[in-house]
Structures are given as C-alpha cells and as structure tokens.
C-alpha cells in the first residue's frame, strides 16, 4: 500500500522530477562555489547530501519507469516549451533511469571514500564532482544530439579538473594526454553532428530516427560517414582498441575515488552508442539497418583481448583496475554489435555489475598500495615506485610451501581479512565466476549467443562465426582476468610476510563493502533485474515507442497574457 502511495507521489511529480538529476548537482555546485575553500567540511556535507538526494531521486525515477502495468514508461520534458523537433528535449526511459541509478550509486561510494582523506588533496574537489554528476545525468537524459555534446563537454571539463586533483607530475602528464585526445574526440563529435544535420536537417534523436530511413540514396554514403565519425568520438570514450591507450595511464594516475568515478565514464560512451545505434540504425532503419554492427563486434573483441592481455601484464593494482575497465567495455561493445534483443538484455545486466566491481577495485587498489607502503600513498612523482621493485625480484616470503612458520591457526587481522575478501569478490565479478553477478551476466550473454531468439524458440539456430568467436573470447578473457587477479591477490595477501597489519578506516571500507553488496543484491535479485533489462532491451530494439513519445510531446499552453495596467 505504502509502495503504491509512493509511486503515486512520484507520478505526480513527473515529468518535472526528471529534471532534478541535472539541476540538483548544478545548484549544489553553484552554491559550493560561494563557500570559502577553507570550509571543507561544509562543502563535504553539501556534497554528501546532494549526492545522497540524487541517488534517492534516481531510484525514484527507476521505480517510476519500472512500475508494472503501465504503458507510459517514458517521460518527455520540453525545457524550452517548444515542440519536439524544434526545441531541446529530455527523455527518460528505463535505460536512462538504470544509468542514473548506477552513476549516483558509484558517485556516492566515491564521495564517501574521498571523505576520509582524498578530498583534501587539492582545491575545488566538491564543485567539480557535482559538475561531473551534472554532465553525466544530462548525457543520460538528453534526446538531442547537440545537447548531448554540451553535456559531454561539461562532464569532460569537470573530469579534467578531477583527474588533476592532487596534482603531481604523473597526473599532469596523464592529464595532458587525456585532454588532448578528448579535445580531438570533441572535434570528431562536432563534425559528425553537423554532417548529420546537413543531411537530415534535424538534431533531435527521435526525428533523426524517422529521417534516416527516408534519406536519399545518394546521401546514404555521406550519412554513414557521418554516423561513423560520430561513433568514433563515442568509441574513444568507450575505450575501444586502438583508441584506448590514454585510459590506463589516466585512470591509474587519478586519485582513487576519481578513478572509481571514471570507471563509469567509459560506460557513458557505451550508453551513448547503445542509445544512438539502436535508435538510428535499428532493424527499422531501412537501407541503413544494423549499419556498423560488425565494426562494433570486431572492435569490441579486439578491446577485450587488449584488456585481458593488459591485465596479465599489469604490475600495479591500479593498472589492473584500468585494464579491467577496458575489458568490461570491450565485452559490452562486442555484445551490443550483434543487435539481438536477448543479448542486449544480458549485457544490460552485465553493465552495472562490472562497473560496480571495477569501481570497487579502484578503491581497493588505493588501500592495498597504501598498505604496501606502510601507510603512505604512492608518490606519483617517483617513476620507479618503491613497491614495484620487490615484486620484480623474488622475495623470501613468496614461496609459502617453504615457509617454516605454521600457517594454520595464525590470526588474520580483521582489516587484512576485509581487504582480502573484497579483493576476492572483485575477482569473482570481473572474471565472471560463480556465485556473484559477473557470472550471472556472462552466463546470460553466453546463453543469448547460443540461443539468438531466446531459450526454446531458437532450435536449430546456431551462432555465426562472430558469435562463436565472442563466445570463446568471453571465456578466455575471463580465465586471463582470473589468472591476473589471482596472481595479484597472492602477491598482496598471501605473500604479505613481515608487514604490519593494514589500517582501515570505516569510511574507506564502507563504500567498497557497499559496492560489493550491490553486486550481491544484483545476484540475489537476478530474476527481477533480468526482467527489467529484458523490458529495456525490448524497448531499445523497437524504438517506435520512443520516437512517437518524443515527437508527440506537446508544449504547455502559455498563460493568457495579462492586460498591462493602465498608467
């Protein structure tokens, strides 16, 4: 009963509530700019409060879009009160709501982690963080290509600042490369967008979906070129091979909470590609149907291979986390490129679980490296970080079989046990082993690959060569990730001979535990979540509803003009 009341209250606030994920961080950030830099505690409190509220709003929006027994699962907002193809449109559907919840959740974990120490490492951490959230939310909600560009730039501008947070030579160096490649990508974005406008005469995504099947045959090549250029800009964000060499240095140089947030940023590229590709080049796009699908599959598989090999070759835990982000991004891209509804549903389940695990790994990496360095963080200025050397030489404590001490019955400090268990959980999710959500996601994707039309309905259908290749690659990359992570775990936790027990603050353990608990919830609630992602995938692959809803949104009639008072 109370649930129904709550949904009712949310419905009454719609569609205005969907503006909140953009406006709330904007106002919070603006407010924080007015507060003096010394008042870090106040800023932190504001940031925490706003992020928490943002998460609550995102969950409310998710509940609204997922509510059963309703046909209108799509909300459309006209910020300028102009009808659809002329004004900017914001649209909220299940996919946007899912991404909003994921973004707010990871952001909350990141800010709680930062609250223990990292937010003091430089100035303007909190406003930048909120601007980043605003850009993310805007990118998830907008239904207009140029508006998407603007939100992307807000997100990127904030991310430049966040990456440089804490300063130091390594960060500035990585930031230089990161900014350069993103500026080049923005140029590609603009070229693609303006070409699409030149050909179709619209920038509204829904209107574009209607215009593309009707494009003149002579313009088709140009249209595909425009879409390819635009997709390249997103693929750079999504870290596809060979456009991803910037990612690992940048993400591992960033401070840990920022790295955790950045793990989400690659998913923005994946989200945009999924949204635009299913909308513009879905099965209903006539001569352009499924344009670029093989490229996504091929690029995604190369990215997976690159990520897995990178993980094997990683010495630092942060590099390991960076390559895990690449691997997850590649898996999603390759699965997306098949354009099958079942597979899309499975990848939408895999997306949040892998993002949560990679974010947790970034946070965990910071704690582990600090533990190795006796309480101090790694010095980014030092190119040969001291902790790298003992690993390259065989240390005495490495071989546990030759250990003279009795291993059984030795007390493991609680903090070390926590770190070890959390690392193990991350390993299970990233490598896709049972019992956690990574396994469920990968298993669902493999099932969808083997049964393209769903279980039972696809008897006699066999996946093509690309399908078999992805199948094999998914299993092999899982194995490689497992080897890499296990090796790192053994080095950090089993060979931790003669080191002091790690000191763990509650504020730093809590977000990691929360992120992993979210993975556990995803596993336990796999049934309802899969039903939700299935509905999302169905809607994505039948974009007619989205197009109709956006195009039929009517502006509010303006209030009657009041007579000017007589003077």
């Amino acid at each position: 009963m109370s649930q129904a009341h709550l949904l009712d209250a949310i419905s009454r606030l719609m569609p205005h509530l969907m503006l909140a994920p953009i406006v709330l961080p904007l106002l919070t950030a603006a407010l924080m700019l007015l507060v003096r830099e010394e008042r870090q505690r106040l800023k932190l409190a504001l940031n925490l409060l706003s992020t928490l509220l943002g998460l609550a709003i995102a969950v409310a929006l998710l509940c609204w879009s997922a509510r059963a027994g309703s046909t209108a699962t799509l909300a459309v907002y006209l910020p300028g009160n102009w009808p659809a193809p002329f004004g900017i449109v914001l649209a909220l559907d299940r996919l946007s709501a899912l991404m909003l919840v994921l973004a707010s959740g990871v952001a909350l974990a990141s800010i709680v982690f930062a609250a223990s120490r990292w937010h003091r490492a430089g100035v303007h951490y909190h406003p930048l963080f909120q601007f980043q959230l605003m850009g993310l939310a805007g990118a998830f909600l907008t239904a207009d290509l140029f508006n998407l560009f603007v939100f992307f730039e807000i997100m990127l501008a904030a991310s430049y600042g966040l990456l440089l947070h804490g300063s130091g030579r390594a960060r500035v160096q990585a930031g230089l490369h990161y900014i350069a490649i993103n500026l080049a990508a923005s140029s590609l974005f603009l070229i693609g967008v303006s070409m699409l406008y030149g050909i179709t005469g619209t920038l509204n995504m829904a209107d574009l979906a209607r215009a593309i099947p009707q494009a003149a045959a002579g313009d088709r090549g140009l249209l595909h070129a425009a879409a390819g250029i635009l997709a390249t800009a997103f693929l750079i964000k999504a870290a596809v091979w060979p456009l991803n060499f910037w990612l690992v240095p940048a993400y591992s140089a960033a401070t840990a909470p920022v790295g955790a947030l950045f793990a989400l940023m690659t998913k923005v590229g994946v989200y945009t590609l999924l949204r635009l590709w299913t909308l513009l080049f879905g099965a209903e796009a006539g001569a352009s149907a499924l344009f670029g699908g093989p490229w996504l599959v091929g690029g995604g598989m190369l990215t997976m291979a690159f990520g897995a090999i990178g993980m094997l070759g990683s010495q630092r835990t942060t590099h390991l986390a960076g390559f895990a982000a690449v691997l997850s991004s590649g898996t999603l891209l390759a699965a997306m490129g098949f354009g099958q509804t079942e597979l899309t549903a499975a990848l939408l389940y895999y997306l949040p679980s892998s993002t949560l695990a990679v974010s947790a790994l970034f946070l965990l990496a910071d704690l582990i490296e600090r533990w190795r360095n006796d309480g101090t963080s790694t010095d980014p200025d030092d190119e040969d970080a001291p902790f790298l050397n003992p690993e390259l030489l065989p240390t005495q404590g490495l071989n546990l079989d030759d250990e003279e001490e009795v291993l059984i019955g030795r007390v493991i400090p609680a903090a070390a046990a926590f770190l070890g268990l959390a690392f193990m959980a991350c390993t299970l999710v990233i490598a896709g082993l049972p019992p956690l959500s990574g396994f469920v996601g990968k298993f669902a994707m493999l099932t969808a690959l083997l049964n393209p039309l769903g279980l039972g309905a696809s008897a006699g259908l066999r996946p093509g060569p690309a399908g078999w290749a992805l199948l094999a690659l998914m299993i092999i990359t899982g194995l490689l990730a497992l080897i890499a992570l296990t090796r790192a775990g053994m080095r950090h936790f089993w060979a931790a001979h003669g080191r002091a027990a790690p000191r763990l603050r509650v504020l730093e353990g809590l977000p990691i535990a929360a992120l992993l608990a979210a993975c556990v919830v995803l596993t336990v609630q796999a049934g309802p979540v899969m039903a939700f992602t299935q509905a999302t995938a169905n809607a994505l692959h039948a974009p007619g509803t989205y197009v109709r809803a956006v195009m039929s949104a009517t502006p509010r009639p303006s209030p009657p003009k009041e007579e000017a008072p007589a003077l």
């Binding site: 140029f146 603007v150 430049y160 440089l164 500035v172 930031g175 230089l176 603009l190 303006s194 406008y197």
Partner: protein, 121 residues
C-alpha cells in the same frame, strides 16, 4: 566559393592533424586550435541547402521567410556554442601545458626527454 571553403577547411585540418602529432606541447595546442577552426568552418558549411552565399541572416520585410532566401540559423547557433566550448577547453589545456612544463622541465608531451634528441635548452 565552395571550392575555396573546402580547400581552407582541408588545409586547416591537415595542418592541425600534423601539428597534433608533433612531440612538443605547444605544437599540440596549435594543432588543436587549427583543428577547431576547421571544425567551426565545417559546421558553417553544413547548413541546409548548402552554403548560404549572399543570403541575409536577419529576417527582412517583403522576403518570403524560408531557407531559399535566408542563411540557415541552426549552424550559426551550433558554431557559436562550439566556439565558446572550444575556447574554454583550449584555455584549460594551456594551463595544464604550463603546469607540465613547470613540473617536468621540458615541453615534450611525454614529460621526459630521454628518447628525444631535439633537446630544448
């Protein structure tokens, strides 16, 4: 007019990409600037019905109000936004460039000069 504009965009893009691939940070920022000029010109040329040569941008009385008689306002709006954002990003890049120069003591994009022979004094 089309040919001149196309050549201009091509030359700007070509030089921009070449400079972008150079090892000095200053060359990279010049390359990015040239690239953004090229993109801005390109957006202008992407109006509906091609380049608006000799068409008024502002509505005037007695002229039918359609794109046959006026310049397309949409690319102008786009290019304005793109210029503002591009300018801000270039300024930010400049700051990072200076920070990198100050911290590493070299203007090489990798911040080290071990594998580079063209050493600046």
């Amino acid at each position: 007019m089309e040919t001149v504009l196309a050549i201009a965009i091509g030359v700007l893009t070509g030089s921009g990409v070449w400079l972008l691939l150079r090892p000095r940070t200053f060359q990279v920022i010049m390359g990015l600037s040239l690239l953004s000029y090229a993109v801005n010109l390109f957006i202008f040329s992407m109006g509906r019905l091609g380049l608006a040569v000799g068409k008024a941008p502002v509505l005037a009385g007695g002229v039918p109000q359609d794109l046959q008689h006026y310049a397309d306002p949409m690319p102008q709006a786009l290019v304005l936004t793109a210029i503002v954002i591009g300018f801000a990003m270039t300024a930010l890049f400049l700051v990072v460039l200076l920070a990198s120069r100050g911290m590493s003591g070299t203007d090489h994009v990798d911040g080290s000069h071990s594998r580079d022979k063209q050493e600046m004094p």
